[in-house]
């Protein structure tokens, strides 16, 4: 089990950040992702494996300011 934006989600072994975003259907191109409080750079999404029991926060950036 992992927690994504306060929701319990099944843990998938060897799942990367890119994989999780796809599974969650987060199609937004601009997201800020933190795993257990640590910021993950966008360039590392494809190589960063999410450990079991992780707490993941995903915020997507919407244009307008």
């Amino acid at each position: 089990m992992i927690i994504v934006n306060s929701n319990n989600i099944d843990f998938v072994e060897n799942e990367t950040v890119s994989g999780l975003l796809k599974r969650m259907k987060y199609v937004f191109p601009n997201v800020v992702v933190k795993i257990n409080g640590r910021l993950v750079k966008r360039t590392d999404f494809a190589d960063t494996i999410i450990p079991d029991k992780s707490e993941v926060s995903v915020i997507h950036m919407i244009s307008g300011g």
């Binding site: 926060s57 915020i59 244009s63």
Partner: protein, 198 residues
């Protein structure tokens, strides 16, 4: 009014500084609100000029159309309070150099418009200035739905956030929601600088 509390707050805010990246709808309103609250120093960064179509939500006036935004806003702030120190930078924030104007501030406001640039800015500043809190905003477009707005806290990053809002290119930008979220950002700055109110 509790004058003792007010004086204590005033002293603390006078010694504080806030950097603002982008002074459009969000940033210009954050700046004016923080100036009124008594922040000692503001660093404002933008590369635009004031345009007529800014006036429906941004803190500028008809007689400022055509002016450099940072200059116009500095003037407005000084019409409110001459003692606020306003450092202005009239240029675009460039990748790999985005943190530069904000090295000596206590809190940074992300008030940029484009989603790519917002993300780039937050990533870079969080990496290079890991101890400085950033208060960003995502999802200002539209009107109504005030109750969908929340504060998302990720470590030192505070996002004023409406995950259901549309991209501004597919929606409208209107004063009530833009200014509401701008002041939400300004209010978080006070929380950060003064500690939780009790």
């Amino acid at each position: 009014m509790n004058t003792q509390k007010f004086e204590k707050i005033k002293m603390k805010l006078q010694k504080s500084s806030v950097g603002i990246a982008g002074i459009g709808g969000l940033g210009s309103n954050v700046a004016v609100s923080l100036a009124r609250a008594g922040i000692g120093r503001l660093v404002i960064v933008d590369f635009d000029n004031v345009e007529e179509n800014n006036l429906n939500r941004q803190y500028y006036f008809r007689d400022q159309i055509g002016m450099i935004k940072v200059q116009a806003l500095k003037e407005t702030i000084h019409r409110i309070d001459e003692s606020v120190k306003v450092d202005i930078l009239n240029h675009r924030l460039i990748k790999n150099n985005m943190n530069k104007p904000f090295r000596n501030v206590d809190v940074i406001i992300e008030a940029l418009d484009n989603a790519d640039i917002k993300t780039m800015f937050i990533e870079e500043v969080m990496q290079k200035l890991p101890n400085v809190p950033i208060v960003g905003c995502s999802g200002v477009a539209g009107y109504g739905h005030s109750d969908r707005i929340t504060t998302k806290k990720l470590g030192k990053l505070y996002m004023v956030y409406d995950e259901k809002a549309k991209d501004c290119n597919d929606d409208v930008l209107m004063a009530p929601r833009v200014i509401l979220m701008a002041n939400w950002q300004a209010n978080i700055v006070l929380d950060i600088l003064l500690g939780e109110d009790n």
